[in-house]
Every structure is written in structure tokens, then in C-alpha cells.
Point group: C2
Chain length 428, copies 2
């Protein structure tokens, strides 16, 4: 187990870990939680429960006490993957070996009884654009014959995002106001967005960082990744269209970004990693600073993704959520997580523990797994039909979007990411 | 003195405050300093000295002790302009009234003996683009007949920047590497930037913040501004040209941003504020959420700006710095600081105490005050001639750029911002 893998046959004595849970003993993601009046502190998800880490620190390592009793995980993650791996293996032992059951079981709390928070104090949030089918779909709406710009297959395109408005799953989406100008209008006006959208992404949490001026070599980049969450890059398309030239998206994004609260580790994902998809014939090979043999073999993230929608009317009628998309991350991503990290630091920019990096919207190359309403409704030209008879081109007040992700593979126990949920409420 | 103004006739008992200092008793900017082995703590600049604030806390207000002994100013600035004003007036009293001289003088430290730091833990750094002559000059290089995009005169254009790589004046500029593609090259390559540039900007420090989802009305925006610094938005033009479509500048900027360490307050700038420049005939009036009568009267910042260059050869020959530009901020800015703050929060984005906002490059409408080499050398086509016989289109290793700013007005004591200095060193 020295590489952080937990045996696929291992079972936990915790109830609720046998079935279709997102959080079997092979997952063990960390997060930050609080009870109704308690302080924020680290916990690990197991079945329907969360294990209160400060409460079992005596069973872990006294040297970890300070970092594992903080209200954010930055200090812990700064220790790098070695410490994370030690903790992971020790937790697997505590949660499987019956000898520890009495002591540990007393520190389990039902997950439905706690509130989850953003797991880190995010120094910087960066959003990438590595979903090539998304980039193609969006590009086609502007340039039908030439959807991808000339730099796309050389540069992992990214831009700085807003850290202050990143919130944990469950935060309401207050419809943003801003300047918008209809194509046929003479003048822009300020008011609530009429083209509010979601974007399905993965979030990458930075573990150990790098010093300013010291790029992270591609061969070491994966060691700087603490783990992954779901990320919803809520977007106001009308604000975006009017504001984004020449410096990129700004207020169309910075009103809210939601993340699922659990950091799923690279070790938990190990059974679900695969070769990077081969590049289509004629595509350039990555420049040397982005090319690594090990990453080529295991850089693909075989993570299943799903987005559902519930409207107020559906909720009132007790209907099931409407599935907007189903797809997989690995074939959606033109650049791997390691390539993203190496590129981000390639100019000497210092990444810091707890930084958050979005992949960009992850869409499939067919219509089943489009990661935004902008794509699904073809820029609003083809509204989707809901079972209530309602139509949607973009989000209406009361609409709730749920992102889910999980991994399945022959011979491996299924693991999941939990949910990233947000419900739209009317403008302030 | 209830508005925070300090009488223009007031003099300090501190030596070195009588002449051409940037820091007479009418200025009193806060910063964070440390001595060789001491901790970081707040100080106020006066003449050639810094007053150690924790050391005189007994003469200030016991209720301020916690916030004024921190290694960053975030908590102090979060109190808003009322508290800043009280501190400012009390400091003016201590530094002018001979009764306090003995107690206070013992806590003065020569500024040449301390190291200055970034004054806040910057949660988010945002860069705007309100320098209309800069935007015009840069736009002309791409679109000679139509340099400004259609949104420019409606939207204060801005984009998210990188907070982790903001450093205080004096930090070396490690030449960044990155992807660059010459216009006549078939393929991009990765290597040290060949078109390294500076950008002359003002930095705006956020004082009190706003809650997520609660825009700051334009009439209240100036109350959220704690003060101003100089800001150098170092830029790698070759990286920028290749990477910036479609999501804006990224690695071409995030390798370093330098700020001068003193936060010059709105109260100190009061004698140097004037009417916003009238918009040229035909330009639209600001939308209502950006329009405020008080801001129209006093939103203009009559701040003089200067940039100088010293090369290795000039330094070896003992030559004076070469003046690259001289201009004024007020006529350079198409949008005021209050308009910047109101726009930034207009979608509900939460600004936080200690956030940093750049104005964008401030150039005059003539050739005397161009704020970047990109403009001065016409994109590299017209190198400047230096007294050594050297030429410069962009920065070479060893080049040192110094930004300076000061305010002068009839009947007012001159105040200054100090310097924002950076010297280029070769790629790592």
C-alpha cells in the first residue's frame, strides 16, 4: 500500500459503506465541516458519516495536531502528498480494523447533520479552458468554419478568476446584474442577467506550492496536486458577451463559483487513471515543458460526470430531476491536470497550497454530455423541453443545478465526489 | 479637521519634513515594515523616518491595539475610513505637538534602515484598463482606424489578476519564460521573454468590503477606498500576444506585479482632487449605476507620474536615470476610482479589505507621458536612444525601472507616494 492505494477488497466496519455510496473506504476525501454551533474543522467522509479528525488526533500522529485542527486545510495540504498518503493509510486502518471501532465510532457524525465549507482559504483561483469540445462548441457560435483559435492546441488556455466569491455547494446563486446589450439594441443597459448559465468543471486543489520564479517541471507537477472537486463556474452570458473584449471574462463570472466540498485525492483516483487520449492526426505534440512520459500513461481522469436540473414547477409536482448531460472527463480534456499545473507555473508564477484551479467546461464530442446551457440550447436558439412543458434556454429563478461525479472500473470499488448544488434566486 | 484634512500650515517637529520630502505631516501613509530581525508591523511615514505604530499604541487608542499590531493592514483597513481618519488626526497631533516629542521621537526609525512589505494580505488582485490613451495607443497597433472597442466607453474594462505574485517595491524582476511565436514563425517555442515591459499604474487598496450579492452603490464607493499606491504591472508582450485570445492576459502578467509600499489616503489626496475631465463631445454619459454628482466634482486624481530607466551601462558610468515619461493621472483615467469600485461590485462580487485594484496603464494623450515601452517604442518599431548609445525597445537584463508619483497644488504642501522599483534579472 506504499503508493497510497487502499486494497480493493478492504471493507469498513462503518455501516452504509457497502452499497452505492460515494464514500467507501477506498475514497476517504477530506473536507471542512461544522456542526450547528461548532467550529470549522477537518473531517473525512466515510459512507453516510464524517469522521471528526481533531477528535481522533490521538489515534493519528501528534505531529499533525496543529495542521489538522485548523478551520481550513491549507497548512495540511502544504505538507505534500507524502503526509496525505500517511494519513489516508492510517484512516483506512482505523476504519477497517475492529480493534479501533469503539474509539473511532464515537467520533462519527451523520453527514446530514453537518454543514460543509470551502475546504481551503483560496489564495488564487484560476480557470482553464481545456475542454476542447466545449471550446469548439462555443467557438462555432462565433466562427463556424474555424472554431478553435490558432493557440489552442499549443497553449493550455487559462485566466485568473475571483477567489472571494468561491463558495461551497449549497450556496444560493443570486442572479447577477450587469451591463448587457442585445445585438439589435443601440445602447447597453444595466439590469439582471437574462442569460444565466452553469458550467460543469473539475476543480484542482494545489497541495505543495512553488517559489516565485521557480517553474514546476512537468515531471513533478502531479505531486503538487492535492486532489479534485466538482466546480460550477456560473456564468452570465449576456454580461460576458458585452464585457469580454479585449481582456476576457470578468463580472460575468465573479458573482459566484461553487465547489463540492470534498477533496478527492489522486491516490483514490489511481484505479481510474488511464492513458491520455491520443491527439487527432495533424495535431501538434505538446512542447517539451508540457510533455511527460508518466503523465501520458496515467494523466487521463476517467471520471463520470452528470448534470441535472429541477425547476420550481418540477419540484412542486414531485418530479425527478431532468438529466441535462452525462459524460466523462478524460476524453473531454485536451490537457491533463499535470500539464495545467506545469503551464501555470511555467513563467515562474508561484502556486500556493489551497489554490483552486478549474479545468474549464467539460463537454463530450456528442450531444449527450454538453457542459453548459449555452451549448445545449445552441446559444439560446434551441430551448430544451422539460417534462412540465416548460422550456429553458438559460436558468430561471428557482432552478436548481446539481453536478455529480463518480468513478467506476472493472475490479475497483466505485467512488464518488458528492454533489455540487446551486439554486438560482432573484436579483438583489 | 473633521473630514480628515490636516491643516496646510501644520509643521512637524520631525527633522527632514520641511523640504521636498514625499512624506510631510500632511501625508501620513501607512505601511508594513520590518527591521533586520524584527517582526512585520505597521508604521507611518514621516520625512526620512517611519514611526513604529505598535510602539506608540499607548498614545493612540487601546481599542486599536489588536489591529495595529498585525503583520498586515487588512484588519485595520476593514474598519473603514472613520477609524483611518481618527488615527490620521491623532498622528498629526503627536507629530506636531512638542509635548509628545520625547515619547514619540524614541520610536522613529530611519526609513533606510527598514524593509518595506506588501501592506496587506491580498485576497484578490484585479487590474482595470481605464487609461483611455493607453487603450487607444495599444488598440491602434492592432486596429489603426478603430482603436477602441465598442464597449470601452460604457464598461470600465477589467480582469482578474494574480494575487500571489504581487510584491513590494525592490523585488527583482526575474525574466519570465513562456510560449512565444514570432509573426513569421511557423510554430511557437518556449523560452525567456524577448519583449519584457513595464506598465505604469496606480493601485487602489480596498478598505471596508461588501457582502456577496450586495453591490456597492456609486455614491458609497469612495468610502470603500483605503488609499492608493504606485503599481507596476510587468508584462511579457510576446507571451501576451500569443496567449491572450480568447480569455485575456494570463502568464504574460502573473510572474510579478510590484507595488509601492505606502498607502496614500484619500484624505491626504483631498487638496489634489478635481472635477472628472469632461467627456469628449459624442461620448456617452456613464450609466446611472456609475454616475454620481459628488464623484463628478472630486473624482479626478491630480497625481503627477514619472518613470525612469537606468541600464547596467548607465549605472557603471554613473549617469542620471533616463526619464521615460511624465504625466498626470487625472486626464489619463476615463473612469474614476469610485466608478471602478462600483462597477467591480455591480454584479454582487464581494470586495474584501486589503484587495488590490490596478487602474491599468496611465498614459497621456501626447508622447511625453506614455506608460509602457510598448507605446514608447511603437511596438518595438522605434527603439529609444539612451545617453550611453544603447537602444531599448523592451527591457534588457540589468535594467531598473523606477515609478514615482507626487501631488502639487497652489496653497497645498507637496506630498509623494515614494518609489516603485524593480530591476530585471536573467531568466531562472
Amino acid at each position: 500500500m506504499s503508493d497510497g492505494s487502499i486494497d480493493q477488497s478492504l471493507t469498513s466496519w462503518v455501516e452504509s459503506t457497502g452499497g452505492e455510496t460515494d464514500f467507501p473506504i477506498q475514497n476517504l476525501p477530506l473536507g471542512i465541516f461544522s456542526e450547528s454551533k461548532g467550529r470549522r474543522r477537518p473531517g473525512v467522509a466515510i459512507g453516510d458519516y464524517i469522521l471528526d479528525l481533531p477528535a481522533v488526533i490521538d489515534l493519528l500522529d501528534e505531529g499533525w495536531r496543529e495542521d489538522l485542527t485548523q478551520p481550513v486545510l491549507n497548512a495540511w495540504l502544504s505538507r505534500g502528498q507524502g503526509a496525505q498518503r500517511e494519513l489516508r493509510l492510517r484512516l483506512a486502518e482505523l476504519l477497517s480494523d475492529a480493534r479501533y471501532r469503539d474509539d473511532v465510532e464515537a467520533q462519527l457524525i451523520g453527514r446530514s447533520e453537518v454543514r460543509m465549507h470551502v475546504p481551503c482559504l483560496i489564495g488564487d483561483y484560476t480557470d482553464f479552458y481545456v475542454g476542447i469540445h466545449h471550446a469548439t462548441n462555443v467557438g462555432k457560435q462565433f466562427r463556424p468554419d474555424n472554431p478553435l483559435l490558432p493557440n489552442y492546441k499549443y497553449v493550455p488556455i487559462g485566466y485568473h478568476g475571483r477567489a472571494s466569491s468561491v463558495r461551497a455547494s449549497g450556496e444560493d446563486v443570486i442572479r447577477p446584474s450587469g451591463q448587457r446589450k442585445a445585438p439589435d439594441a443601440d445602447l447597453p443597459e444595466y439590469g439582471p442577467s437574462r442569460r444565466l448559465d452553469y458550467e460543469l468543471e473539475l476543480g484542482i486543489w494545489v497541495g505543495s506550492g512553488n517559489e516565485l520564479g521557480q517553474p514546476i517541471p512537468i515531471g513533478e507537477a502531479s505531486e503538487h496536486i492535492a486532489g479534485y472537486s466538482l466546480l460550477n463556474d456560473w456564468s452570465a452570458r449576456d454580461l460576458q458577451a458585452w464585457e469580454y473584449q479585449p481582456l476576457g471574462p470578468f463580472l460575468s463570472k465573479s458573482f459566484l463559483t461553487s465547489v463540492s466540498p470534498w477533496i478527492v485525492t489522486p491516490d483514490a483516483l489511481r484505479p481510474f487513471r488511464n492513458r491520455l487520449p491520443s491527439r487527432p492526426a495533424g495535431d501538434p505534440q505538446p512542447l517539451p515543458y508540457l510533455d511527460d512520459p508518466a503523465d501520458r500513461e496515467t494523466g487521463g481522469l476517467c471520471i463520470q460526470l452528470e448534470v441535472t436540473l429541477v425547476t420550481d414547477a418540477m419540484r412542486a409536482a414531485g418530479m425527478q430531476p431532468h438529466v441535462l448531460s452525462r459524460g466523462s472527463a478524460d476524453t473531454a480534456m485536451y490537457w491533463s491536470a499535470a500539464q495545467i499545473v506545469a503551464h501555470h507555473s511555467s513563467n515562474g508564477c508561484n502556486l500556493q497550497p489551497g489554490d483552486l484551479i478549474g479545468t474549464g467546461t467539460l463537454s463530450t464530442d456528442n450531444d449527450e454530455g454538453l457542459g453548459s446551457l449555452l451549448e445545449i440550447s445552441r446559444g439560446g436558439k434551441q430551448p430544451i423541453q422539460l417534462p412540465t412543458g416548460e422550456e429553458r434556454s438559460f436558468l430561471e429563478d428557482g432552478d436548481e443545478i446539481v453536478l455529480r461525479a463518480w468513478c467506476e472500473s472493472e475490479g475497483a470499488v466505485r467512488i464518488g465526489f458528492g454533489e455540487c448544488v446551486g439554486r438560482v434566486v432573484s436579483a438583489a
